[in-house]
């Protein structure tokens, strides 16, 4: 292995498609050097070489490097294994875990080019995003996540031993169903670590139970006091975090069940930023693998063969099939994200007259600073609302269609023209608003002194109703709550449009 990798050296790092560990290190060092030149700030990398089978394993546990056991992961595994064996799908060539050190997996079967691509994409692209983006900084704790997952797995295994697999599975099923409703959107979560978590867990168990009992005390109350109590609402404000509410207030859960609710909630929280930054995260990583490898190529460190293979794979990743294509399946986040970051750079470096009108503060600015700022301070929704340019709307030929069930036909509401840019941008941004993508369901009221029933309220947006899974979902809620559960869909005027109940 050569130690003299001085800048300006014009020899390719390697030729041919075989990789070995020395070459991986050589590529990593070169990519790291260029990434540092561009000012990418990353966690240290831990790059693990695995087989395709292990990749399927990693995949089916939603990328959690340490997972508790659950049948749904088994289902996922079998589905992936089947389609992989039949050649219906190639495995994505990378999984990267938001932890410190940042763990990335390389698949053994890949060629040298693909390994280098993955290193640039995951270990410098995603890695710097994890470290820099405000959502990840707020919601996840890269230092502690691995420890917490170990704690979770051990705790759940212990529960299985004590209370039986079926009992644990029931709780997990219900929690998984509500996983998207386990996040506080406005409160900054506390940091987690295994040692603290374990110590706190026992205290919490006792404390919580005593709290719940207080709330549900069945001692008779005087009539006057009772009337007074009826005036008070519980909860005083609607609660959006269903799992948190259940963990704290469900009357009939045993302490260990509460802890499992908490575990699922914490894991949901860990994945929450990923769901909100898909376009940005993938776009950022794609932009950087493209930029870093092109830079190395210009330095003469990569062969033409390498570039051809790389570009072919890169082009596949960022291909956006048009709406009329058979391959069309919504907007490709890689394509949108990559195009947006590239477009941002273009606006900084070669602004047109139009760009100067739309982005006066960006035109002519240092593109590295602009991109870095964008990466740190936005999520998909706000990123699109802020930076989607008319130029890109034209390039991608974006248009908006209104689907209203009161109309017989769909209407094209805006296209890529002067009248439409603002609207297309607004609507596309809305499309990535999690609050709109998922029904807005909150805890409305608990009948504290009556039958203890729980009422959820669905605040309808644009008159969109709930799907057919609702009765099934209420069963899950009722299983956790232990008493009757009601759900009402309320439209914008406050009128109840639909109601569903599940009696225990």
């Amino acid at each position: 292995m050569r130690e003299d990798t001085a800048v300006g050296q014009r020899r390719p790092i390697s030729e041919g498609s075989d990789w070995n560990f020395d070459l991986l290190r050589a590529y990593d060092r070169e990519i790291a050097r260029v990434a540092a030149q561009y000012g990418l700030d990353t966690y240290p990398n831990q790059i693990e070489v695995i087989t395709s089978e292990q990749m399927i394993d990693a995949y089916s546990s939603v990328g959690m490097p340490v997972g508790y056991h659950h049948w749904s992961f088994g289902k996922q595994f079998m589905a992936i294994q089947k389609s992989y064996k039949r050649g219906q799908m190639g495995l994505a060539y990378e999984i990267v875990i938001n932890s410190n050190p940042c763990i990335a997996y390389l698949m053994e079967e890949n060629t040298m080019t693909m390994q280098a691509l993955v290193i640039a994409h995951a270990c410098y692209g995603h890695n710097s995003f994890f470290k820099g983006n405000y959502l990840f900084r707020t919601w996840t704790d890269a230092e502690a996540i691995l420890d917490y997952l170990v704690f979770a797995r051990n705790y759940i295994a212990e529960c299985e031993e004590r209370y039986g697999e079926e009992a644990v599975e029931e709780i997990l099923d219900s929690c998984h169903a509500l996983m998207n409703y386990g996040v506080d959107r406005y409160k900054r979560p506390a940091r987690l670590s295994m040692a603290k978590e374990q110590a706190r867990q026992r205290e919490r168990e006792e404390y919580l139970q005593s709290q719940v009992n207080l709330l549900w005390r069945t001692l008779p109350v005087k009539e006057a006091a009772r009337r007074e109590q009826r005036e008070e609402r519980f909860p005083p404000e609607p609660q959006e975090n269903l799992l948190y509410f259940i963990e704290k207030h469900a009357p009939r859960l045993a302490p260990w069940q509460r802890e499992i609710v908490r575990i699922v909630r914490k894991i949901a929280q860990y994945f929450y930023p990923q769901r909100q930054t898909q376009v940005m995260n993938e776009g950022w990583a794609t932009f950087w693998h493209y930029t870093l490898l092109n830079h190395l190529y210009e330095e003469g460190r990569l062969t033409d063969g390498f570039m051809i293979e790389f570009l072919q794979s890169h082009t596949n990743v960022v291909y956006q099939p048009p709406y009329y294509s058979r391959a069309y399946n919504g907007i490709n986040p890689y394509a949108l994200g990559f195009n947006m970051f590239r477009d941002l750079r273009r606006i900084c470096e070669n602004p047109t007259e139009e760009d100067r009108r739309w982005f006066p503060e960006l035109a002519g600015a240092d593109w590295r600073k602009v991109l870095d700022f964008a990466m740190r301070n936005f999520k998909d929704e706000s990123f699109i609302a802020q930076y989607l340019s008319p130029h890109l709307i034209r390039e991608m030929r974006l248009f908006a269609v209104v689907d209203d069930d009161r109309e017989d036909q769909l209407e094209v509401a805006a296209i890529h023209d002067d009248a439409g840019y603002q609207q297309v941008r607004r609507w596309l941004a809305d499309q990535y608003n999690l609050g709109q993508r998922e029904p807005n369901i909150q805890v409305w009221e608990v009948d504290l002194y009556g039958d203890r029933s729980l009422t959820l309220r669905h605040f309808m947006h644009q008159r969109r109703p709930l799907g057919e899974s609702t009765p099934e979902m209420l069963k899950h809620v009722a299983r956790l709550w232990g008493y009757d559960v009601y759900l009402e869909s309320v439209d914008e005027t406050g009128e109840v449009q639909y109601a569903e109940e599940c009696r225990v």
Partner: protein, 422 residues
């Protein structure tokens, strides 16, 4: 700085537990699917692992999601012909325009398809089936014994003499027995040397020492090289081996009255049986007898695949079977099972003879006798005779009728159901 770790050799199959959880949870559906797979497929295919599909709705993981309706705005890429204000008919679930309202799983499939390994498939397939009463015979029959090593003993027959062990023993004994003499010998020699060094080699003390040395050497030499005490013999004892050996007789009618369809059913019945046996018991002999007017013992290949025609004399097969039992499978050492498949259409005078053979010679030595009658319009002569047999041996004798392909499996299960001890 990046750290590279080679994980390729550390455990794969991390998902094995989750997979088992999945199978356990959907046991009922999988069992149902296995049953359907059996009735709809060629039985020979069962040998392989099986692709199983179960309804996807049973295993959906629900989440709250939006249903169709309301007002939505969706942004699409790749506009070709539209301008603002265009109105378009709703596509009938066409590609693209459908948008995101679809199933929450993201996969609109009705069936979840996955593969079971052969082992798993067989487990579902043969769940709670077992050859009747095997256990009983296993524990009460004359046990087969196996000679196993059990260390060394000091007595035994010369053929079992363990040379190495005996020599080791001898070395130890020799060292121990000559230890005192050798020590004194060393002292005497040293003293003699000292005397000689002082020039007193001819002194009386030196002479005495020489004599003593002589005597001591003789004593050391006199310790026997090998003594009878040293001999060790390899020890072997008889360890009782529970017998799980069984022999299964498969008797099939291939006469003219058995048409293709019926033969087909019979073949499948035996194939199932064969699979069941080869899986459940480690040591099991299979004897295949097919008959028309004469019976013949054939190998498995011929049994299932070659064709014969002719009249039917079922007793020929029973006689042959009895001969084979006497000759090769003494009932003390073997659990004997028999399954007979026929359309029941026997030569008129022969059926009573079959009954006599069964009652007189066969049933007393076999554990279990199963008879299946295939696709007969109404019970045939053999059936009536066998009903009489069944009334005498209700535990040991079973009979069932198979009407069509789909009956095979239920009947098979019925015949070989695990008998819960009353």
């Amino acid at each position: 700085m990046s750290q590279f770790v080679d994980r390729r050799l550390s455990g794969k199959n991390r998902s094995a537990v989750n997979r088992q959880r999945f199978l356990r949870r959907f046991k009922t559906q999988i069992r149902q699917a296995v049953r359907e797979a059996v009735s709809g497929r060629r039985v020979a295919d069962l040998e392989r692992g099986e692709k199983i599909s179960i309804p996807a709705k049973d295993l959906s993981e629900p989440v709250f999601h939006h249903g169709p309706g309301g007002r939505r705005v969706i942004v699409h890429p790749g506009n070709r012909e539209f301008v603002t204000g265009d109105r378009i008919d709703r596509p009938e679930g066409g590609a693209g325009q459908g948008g995101r309202g679809g199933s929450p799983d993201g996969e609109g499939l009705d069936e979840f398809v996955f593969e079971l390994s052969r082992e798993e498939f067989m487990n579902y397939f043969f769940e709670d089936l077992a050859l009747p009463d095997l256990v009983k015979k296993q524990l009460t029959a004359v046990p087969e014994v196996k000679r196993v090593r059990a260390g060394f003993v000091s007595q035994g027959n010369p053929a079992n003499l363990h040379v190495v062990r005996s020599m080791k023993q001898a070395i130890g004994r020799r060292l121990a027995m000559s230890a005192g003499a050798r020590e004194r010998l060393r002292e005497a020699e040293a003293a003699l040397e000292a005397l000689e060094a002082r020039g007193l080699g001819a002194s009386p003390e030196a002479e005495a020492l020489r004599e003593e040395i002589e005597a001591l050497r003789a004593r050391v030499a006199a310790v026997p090289f090998l003594d009878t005490w040293d001999l060790r013999y390899a020890h072997r004892i008889d360890q009782p081996q529970p017998t799980s050996q069984a022999v299964m007789f498969c008797i099939m009618d291939v006469s003219g009255s058995m048409d293709e369809q019926r033969k087909n059913i019979a073949k499948r019945f035996f194939m199932l049986l064969y699979l069941f046996l080869t899986r459940s018991y480690e040591k099991i002999d299979l004897v295949f007898i097919r008959h028309h007017t004469v019976a013949m013992e054939v190998d498995e290949e011929d049994f299932f695949h070659s064709r014969e025609t002719g009249g039917t004399v079922a007793s020929s097969a029973l006689t042959l079977m009895y001969d084979i039992i006497r000759e090769r499978y003494p009932s003390a050492a073997w659990n004997i099972y028999c399954a007979q498949a026929s359309d029941g259409d026997n030569w008129e005078g022969d059926s009573p003879r079959c009954r006599e053979l069964l009652l007189g010679s066969i049933l007393p030595v076999v554990q279990y006798y199963a008879y299946v009658e295939i696709e007969s319009e109404h019970p045939q002569s053999l059936w009536h005779e066998y009903e009489y047999v069944k009334s005498l041996y209700p535990q040991q004798f079973a009979m069932q009728r198979i009407r069509g392909l789909e009956d095979i499996y239920p009947v098979f299960r019925e015949l070989f159901r695990k008998k819960v001890p009353a």
